[in-house]
Amino acid sequence: MIKKITLSLIILLLGTVQLYALIEVDITRGNLDPLPVAVSPLSSDKNTDDELSKDLKIKQIGYKISEVVENNLKNSGLFNPLNKDAFLQKPDIAHLKPRFEDWSLIKAQALITGKVTLKDEKLRVEFRLWDVLAAKEMMALAFTTVPSNWRRIGHIITDKVYERLTGEKGYFDTRIIYVSEDGPKTKRIKKLAIMDQDGSNTKYLTLGNELVLTPRFNPTNQMVTYLSYFRNLPRVYLLDIETGVQEVVGDFPGMTFAPRFSPDGKKIIMSFAMDGNSDIYTMDLENRIVDRITNHPSIDTSPSYSPDGKYICFNSDRSGYQQIYVMGKDGTNVKRISFGKGLYGTPVWSPRGDLIAFTKLHKGKFYIGVMRTDGSGERLLTENYYQEAPSWSPNGRVLIFYRETKTDSEGKGFSAKLWSIDLTGYNERMVTTESDASDPSWSSLLSN
């Protein structure tokens, strides 16, 4: 169904000298002063351009790849890609030996150059990252892949640049799975959809015949778990996005919902509702053994593992209202951690392990926030009429979630969109999707 991604990644260290760099980007606080960076179009010879415009119908692939990089850097909020019109040096010459005076003249602090060649139907892309002020090469890498993977090359370059300049892994060579929405509010048609992190390459994984909700990636591979109302039986399903094969997970005598994978990808944790009571269960995907984790007459739902797999945070109304709790992976030592005013839902453990993101409802407003895993240090990042269900970028720096609009007096004007915000509370922006969208889940890095 989805084209198998075969990115044979050959990294050639082109004699990189890892000197201490002058430029670095601090991502731990809101960056109001993004780093000016020049992304030179990658140079490509005429033969390569001709071949690729024939095969991929893409002209100037080097320019296109640089646009992917530029767009990623801009959306991160940490970088300010400079207007290409101001570039003085030609791409091929800049890639060999940048005239640093020219680049510092336009206030670039970092420069990215590159070169694309087509050889034996394989695309070879090399790039270099330069420190303009220190007049030094910071990094040089090359990749070889099939030409149709050209956008991924752009994402991988961004990841490498981001990592080199911030000291943390990137999140650009990733995908988002979400629910695509269509139709009137009272009768929404919902389909599973997947796209690259930057909104391109959208593919639909279900047809919209049945209601589907809350898809989540397996952190270790390209499997997805989600809720489907297939044959009007709401159950947790497993979907292999490479083959398109779907299967129901567990034959429960009632609704199963709110699924997530364990960090090792071997279990699914979910809620099972029966006779008006929802508790948390796990299922081992290998031997299909089911374990009951909570046993309480209240609603227990939205479970999420800590990245070491030792703890589970979840949502329960055992106190009378929705609050966030943490317990051991076997259901012992249940502790309430949310004590602020309002209702708390959808806790999700950060991949770095130190924070839990959540949705909060207080006085008719919805907030996305984070707190430490003991409930201290609550910080609300964004307020809106309706928003919920944050999902972490794999490096734990960005949250993606969805927002719904208030309808007017005639019940018109409903929409659902994906939004993202940095952990710092800065860089809030709408993530463009082909249709209305909700329930986003961020994949791990596809390449490492």
Partner: protein, 158 residues
């Protein structure tokens, strides 16, 4: 003369406005008790005099007096029509997280099921499904619309 007539007319218009607006608010109030919907706009009937749905307060799954009355009528109708099976569809309003609302819808539909069972309807004839906030009847973003959407609907399954 003319002027006094004008004032008289203006006064009448103002009075009419007041009466109308009072009616409007009264109408809304009449459709809700606390925040539970008590109107009939969205209600359909399983048979004459047998409403198909009951309504709930925010975040609640407790049956109100009116809900129990409706469910007793449903139980009576189910006893008379012993071959009919039903699905109870539980729903929540849009002011909650999706996953919690799925659980809440299930809890509401089961509250209705339990009550039908206490009136002698076999659990084998009743199945339950929760739609959470996925299938509102009213697409409005206001308390009245939300009250219509917090519901359990009894639907014939055969």
């Amino acid at each position: 003369m003319n002027l006094s007539k004008f004032f008289k007319n203006a006064f009448l218009v103002m009075l009419a406005c007041l009466v109308l607006s009072a009616c409007a608010t009264k109408k809304v109030q009449n459709q809700m008790q606390g925040d539970v919907y008590t109107g009939t706009d969205t209600v359909e009937y399983l048979a004459s005099g047998v409403p198909d749905r009951v309504f709930f307060a925010t975040n609640e799954s407790v049956l109100t007096t009116a809900s129990r009355d409706t469910l007793r009528k449903q139980a009576e109708w189910l006893r008379k029509n012993s071959k009919v099976n039903v699905v109870l569809e539980g729903h929540a309003d849009e002011r909650g997280t999706r996953e919690y609302n799925l659980a809440l819808g299930e809890r509401r539909a089961n509250a209705a099921k339990d009550y039908l069972m206490t009136y002698g309807i076999s659990g084998n004839r009743i199945s339950v499904i929760s739609y959470g906030k996925e299938r509102p009847v009213d697409s409005g973003s206001n308390p009245l619309a939300w009250s219509k959407n917090r519901r359990s609907v009894t639907v014939k399954a055969n």
